[in-house]
Symmetry: C2
């Protein structure tokens, strides 16, 4: 299936290892606009405990929306960007897009009897994660290419949608799209109610996210920036289609995130939300612009309700962000302390 | 300035030769929503003469917005894409972005005394268009790289903004941003008033368009798809910036337009507006999707008020589009017959 000479960008591994994912979340109702007269508005952030994190966020939003205030920001410039994996939904024990790849290899195996004896396919079919991981960038890159290319963008969308509707997480038994964070859904709705446009900026593939983010996060496909493959336009049966090529066009991670933002959004956002050092440059880019700025890191501290990890984690590693958050005035949101609830919907 | 080994993508020529541009247009007031009760709404398209082109457009909009109708399209899917050069503003005698490049070379020449004796710079400084054009892809690509790279995205934005505020077209003496088409401003406002999201999809550079399209077209930077350079993230004086590299990332023209749409917008638009064969694939991609579709070609037929050209034109050539428009049910808008006025504002 994969031509020998096919160019697999070295960064393909990163993309895979920085996926995106899916939730049957009931979108929280938009809170009333801050300036609406009448009875006291309902709490727009009911899943956030009182504390410094919550106060920093609401204080920022109040400042930038206060007409005539020193920090007022016109609606057009109220752009907020959100990492996906580990910021809007979980990412353990493996990035959900990698789980999608493994499931897809299994689904495709019936048409590929040769995979039973060929690595890294055999490792996937045997559930041998150790051998799979040892296949490294080359092996996992090949799996990514096999499962994400050749098809059209529309076809891949249907495949992802079907997977998101049925696949379940091994630990929680929830659909992956039911493992999105209720407090972050509230943040997005709160920002939108205050005139912000919310974008996802993820290391995961755009085509893996677009089929479900509108339903789950209320974010339309055109507000998703992510890693992307090269595409080729073709006419099939008289219909124009985009075919995914097995070549990476952008790795939207680390220093690639500001690049993706500049290419697609075209102006510097004023608020950024991340959880790992893969988001460092995005947070830096956003918070070093002129005027009021907001950066927040979701710190995974809750081993009981979710996972606890930061330094040295093979996924979502967070070290530099932890070290520099205070000096850079980034909010470190403590999942265990700050969040009343974790997930958005019952399994 | 230009390192010898610098990779100048072959397609760089195309990008240059497919620019974007600038107008001090007074944005037309949004017409009342079609379903608003009360007195008869003002004509949303006052610059369009009665006729088949106008009827085709209003008929399409009425069908897709009629709730319960067979052709109803939800608001989220009402995406319309517009080419820029020759569709939203003029493109003769040379693409306005090429004019910007030439003006920029002249402005930079004081710091480059060696340019007086070096081609293709000498040709620009001498106003010798024949020699300049003979320098071809290599020469013009070098000018594009020199004038569009090395600077940050923000710096280029300031340079473009200053140019748009002052430069004047040799024939009309208008600012380039005053050479946008009033009938097309009305189409965009009419579509937006009917729930459409309007995007530019241009062969011109995104960074050449974003500084002025919001003011001129009412289209925010994040709704501009265009040819783009590779970018590099850097921290300068503690501030994150994006530096433009002299390497093309996407040539958003011909088959590159559906690619740009799929990468950035992420869903198939339902309406497309173009003027040349550079827009053919975009029109094809948009109008071969399921459900109601609309395609329109602005046909330059008015040598008195604008320019008249189609087949064989060195800029904005239109042959296949002319030949196939009827069979594909694309509207051929005749500038001379269909448009009461051409430009949006007095010079």
């Amino acid at each position: 299936m994969i031509a020998a000479g096919m160019r697999l960008h070295a960064a393909v591994f990163l993309v895979l290892i920085l996926a995106g994912g899916c939730t049957q979340a009931s979108a929280p109702g938009a809170p009333p606009a801050a300036s609406a007269p009448g009875p006291a508005p309902a709490d727009p952030l009911p899943s956030w405990n009182e504390g410094a994190s919550r106060r920093a966020l609401t204080g920022f939003v109040e400042r930038v929306t206060k007409e005539g205030g020193a920090d007022f920001v016109p609606v057009a410039e109220r752009i907020a960007v959100f990492d996906n994996d580990g910021t809007l939904w979980s990412e353990q024990p493996i990035y959900f897009q990698l789980q999608f790849v493994l499931d897809r290899v299994k689904a495709m195996a019936a048409d590929h009897p040769e995979w039973r004896a060929k690595q890294p396919y055999k490792a996937v079919l045997d559930g041998d994660m150790k051998t799979l991981m040892a296949s490294g960038e080359k092996g996992i890159g090949e799996l990514l290419a096999v499962t994400h290319s050749g098809v059209t963008v529309d076809e891949l969308g249907e495949i992802v949608r079907a997977w998101a509707d049925t696949a379940r997480h091994p630990k929680t038994a929830r659909r992956y799209t039911e493992m999105v964070y209720q407090p972050m859904l509230e943040v997005m709705a709160y920002l939108r109610a205050n005139g912000f446009k919310t974008f996802i900026v993820s290391g995961g593939g755009v085509e893996f996210m677009r089929p479900w983010v509108e339903r789950v996060y209320g974010i339309p496909p055109e507000q998703v920036v992510g890693s992307r493959a090269k595409l080729k336009y073709e006419v099939r049966d008289g219909k124009g289609v985009l075919v995914k090529l097995p070549e990476i066009d952008l790795v939207d991670d680390r220093a690639g995130k500001p690049v993706g933002i500049a290419q697609v959004i075209g102006r510097r956002p004023i608020a950024a939300f991340g959880n790992s050092d893969g988001d460092f440059e995005m947070l830096e880019y956003v918070t070093t612009g002129p005027g009021p700025r907001f950066g927040l890191i979701v710190h995974h501290t809750d081993a009981d309700r979710e996972w606890a990890y930061d330094r040295g984690s093979h996924i979502g590693g967070l070290a530099r962000g932890l070290d520099e958050a205070a000096a850079r005035k980034w909010v470190l949101a403590d999942m265990k302390q700050d969040w009343k609830t974790i997930y958005s919907a019952a399994p």
